[in-house]
């Protein structure tokens, strides 16, 4: 089953085309990586697919729901962690987690198991009573992740979730993601860490709003005779720029 489908998705802001004619599909249970330089259009794409922003033209479906016409019911199936997650700085760690567990109607054993697991990964167990506003930058980021992962959505959108997260926690976070994939959750993952992109089933490279390449990481590397994705992406972008410039 197709979990995410975009057809000629386009979004303009005044004279900037932030997302330019994107078409792609992500099957259920896949982790799809979205990478691209700063300002490429990753966040805008996420906002379109989560029904927060309307496209200027084009269409999209997420878990069968149309991103404009069904933007409300679409939200029942998805989880979204934005680049700057909305924590309540005047609530404690535990109050924030409970707040999101309530919103998503997570209860009973599932609730306590989840909370324990997520606070464990984030290293926040000793700081349950601390105000979120008093946490360090990375601790806030991890609390945001814990809140976003408190329920199991059908499709999970993560916008650069590991920015500011230390290497130890980043490893633990990926273990959680692999477990979600086993439960058939579809993950749409924007990142500027290319080692994380390598672990995605497929990656899409966007630049200036356009999808320049979308494939399995190994194939992309092979095609461009590159050792790393970073090397391949630099080649792809340079090649594209030299054509576009003419």
């Amino acid at each position: 089953m197709t979990s995410i489908k975009a057809v000629s998705l386009t979004r303009k802001f005044d004279n900037i085309t932030a997302v330019d004619d994107l078409s792609f599909e992500v099957p259920e249970g896949e982790i799809f990586g979205l990478v691209g330089p700063d300002g490429a259009g990753k966040t805008t794409t996420m906002r379109l697919l989560t029904g927060i922003l309307e496209p200027t033209s084009g269409e999209g479906w997420v878990y069968g729901k149309h991103i404009v016409k069904e933007s409300e019911s679409l939200k029942d199936n998805i989880g979204y962690m934005s680049q700057r997650f909305g924590l309540y700085e005047d609530l404690t760690v535990m109050e924030n987690v409970n707040f999101y567990a309530d919103i998503y109607c997570v209860s009973g054993n599932e609730r306590s198991d989840r909370i324990e697991k997520l606070l464990g990964f984030s290293g926040l167990t000793p700081f349950k009573g601390r105000l979120a506003g008093k946490l360090s930058g990375g601790m806030k980021q991890k609390l945001g992740l814990a809140c976003a992962l408190i329920h199991t959505p059908k499709v999970l959108f993560l916008d650069e979730p590991t920015n500011g997260v230390d290497p130890v926690s980043r490893r633990d976070f990926w273990k959680i993601l692999y477990n979600l994939l086993k439960e058939k959750v579809t993950i749409f993952y924007a990142t500027s860490y290319l080692d994380e992109a390598e672990r995605c089933k497929r990656v899409g490279l966007i630049h200036k709003g356009k999808m320049l390449r979308c494939d399995v990481p190994d194939k992309i590397k092979e095609e461009f005779k590159a050792k790393t994705l970073e090397e391949a992406f630099i080649k792809i972008i340079n090649e594209w720029e030299s054509h576009a410039g003419k």
């Binding site: 700063d38 920015n163 290497p167 500027s192 290319l194 790393t228």
Partner: protein, 319 residues
């Protein structure tokens, strides 16, 4: 001794209530050095930087930054250093140019130099096309570039960068580091934090702080050799994520994680661990795999030191 670009702290401590965020740390940074301050989330990096920049006062201990006392001369420090905080310090409702003008104003950049510096910064950050754009509409990575530019507009002798490259794309990260190295070559002292261990390779020296204490300090090379006590094995196997649990729970394996596409396993006894790993592959009839000993990366060292520290301290608690 000229000390207008050095940093030194003695027994520096910061408590919030009865929680110790920074626990009596000592270090020195010489002029023109790139000093990396690494550590897990909540280790005390930003708190230390805030004390060094004269934003908060230590609860005990002392320190000097650029020859100024971090307790008695906080104003002087702020005027003479550059500081890029972890959270955006920009005004969202100003344009790119207006933000730069604002910072050159508060840092009292001489009038006849303002324009030239502004152009330099815009060029450096690659913001030419965005100069009249409202900061709120810039993408995350662009904001970060602008923040770096604003932090160095007054050509400070010492600069504190708290995760300057967080959320910045790989190409721009390389540019950032080219700028940082260039500053150091010109005698500017750079104190920098990052969670990207590949970037930390660029530091002359680094300290690893954990739970408020400095637990290791040295050059990148020293960290990977003298300070690293464990061996790292690189395991190449299809669908690495499916093997991770099995390998991690093997006796003799301290830690296993995906590293790009291969698995890195940190082990104490190399021979025994290699045999044990090969054994689980053999038993499931798998032939296509490769296990090799490799030189530890900084990320391996980082994770290994943290885990060892936790183990030691858990045990000492129990006994």
């Amino acid at each position: 001794m000229p000390e207008n670009n050095t940093v030194a702290v003695t027994s520096l401590e910061k408590k919030f209530g009865n929680f110790t965020a920074v626990n009596r740390i000592n270090f020195e940074v010489s002029g023109g050095e790139i000093f990396g301050f690494l550590g897990p989330n909540g280790a005390g990096k930003s708190t230390t930087i805030r004390m060094l920049c004269g934003i908060i006062s230590p609860t005990s201990g002392s320190g000097k930054v650029g020859g100024f006392d971090i307790i008695k001369e906080q104003g002087k420090i702020k005027q003479n250093i550059g500081y890029m905080s972890q959270r955006f310090s920009l005004y969202d409702d100003l344009t790119v140019e207006e933000n730069i003008d604002f910072y050159s104003g508060i840092y009292r950049v001489p009038k006849d130099e303002k324009q030239a510096r502004k152009e330099k910064i815009i060029g450096l950050a690659g913001l030419e096309a965005f100069r009249h754009r409202l900061t709120s509409t810039l993408s995350g990575g662009w904001k970060q570039r602008l923040a770096l530019g604003c932090a160095i507009i007054h050509k400070p002798k010492i600069i504190f960068l708290d995760e300057p490259t967080s959320g910045v794309d790989p190409i721009t990260r390389n540019n950032f580091w080219a700028i940082i190295k260039d500053m150091a070559r010109n005698g500017i002292t750079v104190f920098v934090t990052t969670h990207y261990m590949d970037e930390a390779e660029n530091c002359g020296r680094m300290a690893l702080i954990y739970k408020g204490s400095i637990i290791a300090m040295g050059t990148p090379e020293e960290m990977k050799t003298k300070i690293m006590k464990n061996t790292v094995l690189d395991i190449r196997v299809a669908k690495g994520e499916d093997w991770l649990d099995k390998i991690e729970t093997l006796k003799g394996v301290e830690e296993a994680a995906l590293f790009g596409v291969s698995i890195h396993a940190v082990v104490k006894d190399e021979r025994a661990a290699i045999d044990a790993i090969k054994d689980i592959f053999k038993r499931s009839g798998l032939k296509d795999y490769k296990v090799t000993k490799i030189k530890a990366t900084l990320e391996d060292v980082f994770v290994s030191l943290i885990e060892d520290y936790d183990k030691e301290h858990d045990e000492s608690k129990k006994s």
